[in-house]
């Protein structure tokens, strides 16, 4: 009788430990999948950042060239802005 009880308890403990292991295994697997996905995402974003950096350099060049091209217009705009400001001050 005593041995039967011990046997049952042993089996229960074994089953519980199998359950615990299974749970931990699955959770771990989930984590590993998430890590893999995140690593992949990071790689993608890093590639995208590289493209962005190239785009930024290109755009900055374009902006500088355009700025040089419309230098006179920028000066012209400044004159009108100053006139507007002076008028606003005179009216306030």
């Amino acid at each position: 009788m005593k041995k039967n009880i011990i046997l049952v308890i042993s089996i229960i403990l074994l089953l519980a430990s199998i359950g615990l292991f299974g749970y931990l295994y699955l959770e771990n697997k989930k984590l590993e999948d998430e890590i893999a996905t995140n690593k992949e995402n990071i790689k993608k974003v890093e590639e995208s950042i590289k493209t962005d950096q190239e785009q930024i350099t290109e755009k900055e060049d374009e902006y500088e060239k355009l700025k040089e091209k419309v230098k006179d217009s920028l000066e012209e705009m400044k004159i009108w802005e100053d006139l507007k400001e002076e008028l606003n001050k005179s009216l306030s």
Partner: protein, 311 residues
């Protein structure tokens, strides 16, 4: 038999417990691995977040540069808007000046009878001093400039328009003593021809005119009909309230400045100059300084101005 069964149970119990211990050990190892992975995941998530933040910054930077590029591409439109804002505010200031609500004053610098080759010099001085003026143009020079036969005076129109000064109409012929004022038709014909010339050279449609010799030159009756015709054609007209006398004989700088200062008395002045005159050209920086020191804001004329007569 009973003993044998008991032994089997004993062995089974031992095996079960051994497996149990083994599973516990494996679970512990799995737990350790889980913890390690969790730490790694947290690091990766933090890293990912940082990279995403950098990406967002890059995206913002790209947007910012694109906006700046758009702004530069639309700069002419922006200047046009600013110019309209300035006209609107100038109108408001005129009202305040007229009602005595401000001590600020306005001067409209106007240049008649051009364009000449010398107009380039005038434009340069105006640009250096950040002044916008009004050019009452005529075709007396035609394509050859009197003051530089090698220069094409029709090209000067574009230079005036490029600097956003007000282009105004001083008739095609300027022939105040050569049939311009014979009747309303001869006058309006000269207005329309000059309007077409300016439009062709710059794309600007004029809406402010000045009578060669002044609005009294055609005489009262003829003048009245001409002013009505101008109004019907969408024009306002303007005379002047101040000048340096460069339309007559202006011998030198000192006389020019004396003449000019002697006529600056009103709160809103329309100053008459001629862009061919060397003395006036030389005087310009001092004229601008004088007006600014006297609390004048120097502006280009615009159709809605109180100084532009309608009808």
């Amino acid at each position: 038999m009973g003993r044998s069964k008991g032994r089997i149970k004993q062995v089974f119990i031992i095996i079960t417990l051994v497996f149990f211990v083994a599973m516990l050990a494996l679970s512990y190892m799995m737990y350790q691995k889980y913890n390690n992975n969790k730490t790694e995941k947290d690091k990766i998530v933090a890293n990912y977040q940082e990279i995403m933040n950098n990406k967002e910054l890059d995206d913002e930077k790209i947007k910012e540069i694109n906006d700046k590029i758009d702004e530069l591409n639309n700069i002419d439109e922006k200047i046009k808007t600013l110019r309209n804002d300035v006209y609107k505010l100038s109108g408001d200031l005129e009202k305040k000046i007229k009602s005595g609500e401000t001590t600020k004053k306005i001067a409209y610098l106007t240049f008649d009878d051009g364009p000449y080759y010398n107009t380039y010099k005038v434009l340069k001085i105006l640009k250096e001093n950040k002044v916008k003026a009004t050019f009452f143009t005529t075709n007396v020079n035609k394509e050859k400039c009197y003051d530089n036969k090698n220069a094409n005076c029709h090209e000067v129109y574009a230079a005036i328009a490029k600097d956003n000064h007000t282009l105004a109409n001083h008739t095609y012929t300027h022939g105040w003593n050569r049939g311009l004022y014979t009747n309303t038709n001869t006058f309006m014909d000269a207005i329309k021809k000059q309007e077409a010339l300016i439009k062709e050279k710059t794309g600007v449609t004029t809406n402010i005119a000045r009578f060669p010799g002044g609005s009294s030159t055609p005489g009262y009756t003829k003048g009245k009909a001409m002013k009505k015709a101008l109004n019907e054609a969408g024009y306002g007209w303007v005379d002047w309230t101040a000048s340096d006398g460069d339309g007559g004989s202006l011998p030198n700088y000192a006389t020019g400045m004396k003449n000019f200062k002697g006529t600056i008395n009103d709160k809103i002045e329309v100053v008459l100059f001629h862009d061919y005159h060397q003395v006036t050209t030389a005087m310009l920086p001092e004229v601008i300084k004088y007006l600014r020191d006297k609390n004048y804001i120097i502006l280009p004329l615009f159709y809605e101005s109180v100084m532009v007569n309608k009808g």
